[in-house]
Amino acid sequence: MELQQLENTAIAVRRDIVRMVNAVNSGHPGGSLGCTDLLVALYFDVMHLKTDADGNVVFDMDGQGEDLFFLSNGHISPVFYSVLARRGYFPVSELATFRKLDSRLQGHPTTAEHLPGVRVASGSLGQGMSVACGAAFAKKLNGDDTHVYVLMGDGEQQEGQVWEAAMFAPHHKLGNLTAIIDLNGQQIDGPTKLVMNNRDLGAKYEAFGWNVEHMEGNNMAEVVSKLKEARKDAEVPTMILMHTEMGFGVDYMMGSHKWHGVAPNAEQLAVALNQLPLTAGMADY
């Protein structure tokens, strides 16, 4: 997809995010807005997805012969749902059911409601990279040369299981795995440096045997090129430290942990939407 189109899509997704969390007065807008460019780049340009003869995406749980994405920091479900819907996995109108009773769009993503696009439940942190390692291992066993992506939070790096998976992936030569950390420096209780300092994540992953890259996560052109670069054949997995701003696109949310899990009220929503003007051809859900 053209860069301009990707950027227009990202604006529509950011509007979805703030409208979705406002509608139910709950959910996690901060990380969702920060990771919007990544998910739009992956689903609309970088990933090879299974499609039918008309070019519409089709979903099956096995995902053989197509790239896979796992969201480990499941609380940023608004961006995941919006991107999946806009990519065609389910009707965009269904975004209006987010976090409501009987919805397929649970607070945190789940397979239990059979929402197309979701392959594992996430929410309890630290588990997604292990699942991605297993999926990447299965692809190698199947002789399937497609790629596996997983997104984690930087606060999530405080979970011990992450480092178990960090050992596993290079040991088993999972070069078909690209992990991305949303390095926004914020978590619920405050700046990550103050809550529990992760220190030099790049040096840590390098020591664990990963190929480590840095990327400006709110620069669409850079996101696309870095992700494509990371696909190149390698014997080792790639870790992309993605520098983002929590709440990117809405000025009063940017750079503060306070908007990790708080929804804007009606007035704040109007301000946010004003800062995210829809481009021609794009529409709200």
Partner: protein, 318 residues
């Protein structure tokens, strides 16, 4: 009364090892994982013949559960193996979210369950695993009674689509079930017919229940003995049919009373057929070091304990 005899003793974990090796030959999607306990889980033959489908995870059980969930995406049938303590309590949340809530076709295969682990002591003697696993939606929980039944169960769970917890142990015990048995998940096995008292036993306690049945028979008491190898889904019909005949029951398990088989039987009886029930199991305490026999004696998990409980249950009949 059917007489059970045995010519050989083996550990149930070796039954698992034989089963997973056979699956390696017959089912190309079966993958075996372990967390630095390949020898203890009897994976040697599988590793030798199917090295590509063997995944060493190191001492990282949480990651092993997640990797297993991921392997199912791609059509693999992962058998994640370690000691029962590390296969359940240590990784409960990983099993809950990545396996059960996500309804992944992962087989969690756990050895060294219960007191009969012996000398290693309470850190490794998990007595709460059945309770934890049976509480999880989507989970099937199986606790077979000897080498042959464990092998048959291992083959059967590969055919079942969904999460399974398969529990087995370390000590060598009599082999008394047929080598060619067909294992039916959720279908209890009627060991012996009787009308005086029902005995519902699982795992290592099934052999003790058989011995108890012989001791009771010497006193003219005919016990209806049922091997509940599947804790969940529970064969409620078998339990109710038996207690309708006998009017009282004993449950017997190498597990904590809270959350165990006895708990499940009590629920079924209380809802449908209130009847006296005595429970053989561990009473809200941790284990300790000792030989398996010493421990089973000290914690009251022997045939003699089942006999005493049976008589007590019979006395409580109105």
């Amino acid at each position: 009364m059917k007489k059970y005899e045995y010519t050989e003793k083996k550990d149930t974990r070796s039954g698992f090892g034989a089963g997973i090796y056979e699956l390696g030959k017959t089912n190309p999607n079966v993958v075996a994982l372990t967390a630095d306990l390949a020898g203890s889980l009897k994976l040697e033959n599988f590793i030798k013949d199917f090295p590509d489908r063997y995944v060493q995870c190191g001492i990282s059980e949480a990651n092993m559960i997640g990797v297993s969930a991921g392997l199912t995406i791609g059509g693999k049938i992962p058998f994640a193996t370690t000691f029962a303590n590390f296969a359940t309590g240590r990784v409960y949340d990983q099993i809950r979210q990545s396996v059960c809530y996500s309804n992944k076709n992962v087989k969690i295969c756990a050895s060294h369950a219960g007191l009969t682990l012996g000398e290693d002591g309470a850190t490794h003697q998990i007595l709460e695993d059945l309770g934890m696993m049976k509480m999880l939606p989507n989970m099937t929980v199986i606790n077979p009674c000897d080498f042959n039944q464990t092998k048959a169960a291992t083959l059967a769970i590969a055919e079942h689509n969904g999460p399974v917890y398969l529990r087995f142990g370390r000590p060598v015990i009599p082999i008394f079930t047929p080598a060619d048995q067909k294992f039916e998940i959720g279908k209890a096995w009627h060991v012996n017919e009787g009308t005086a008292v029902s005995i519902f036993a699982t795992g290592h306690l099934v052999w003790e229940a058989i011995k108890a049945g012989e001791m009771l028979a010497e006193e003219g008491i005919e016990a209806d003995i049922i091997n509940i190898h599947t804790i969940k889904p529970l064969d409620e019909e078998a339990i109710l049919a038996s207690v309708r005949k006998t009017g009282c029951a004993v449950s017997a398990e190498e597990h904590m009373l809270n959350g165990g088989l006895g708990d499940s039987v009590a629920q079924v009886l209380a809802r449908n057929l209130p009847s006296p029930l005595e429970m053989i199991g561990v009473h809200d305490t941790f284990g300790e070091s000792g030989t398996p026999d010493q421990l089973m004696q000290k914690y009251g998990l022997t045939a003699a304990n089942i006999v005493a409980a049976a008589k007590k249950a019979m006395k409580r009949k109105v």
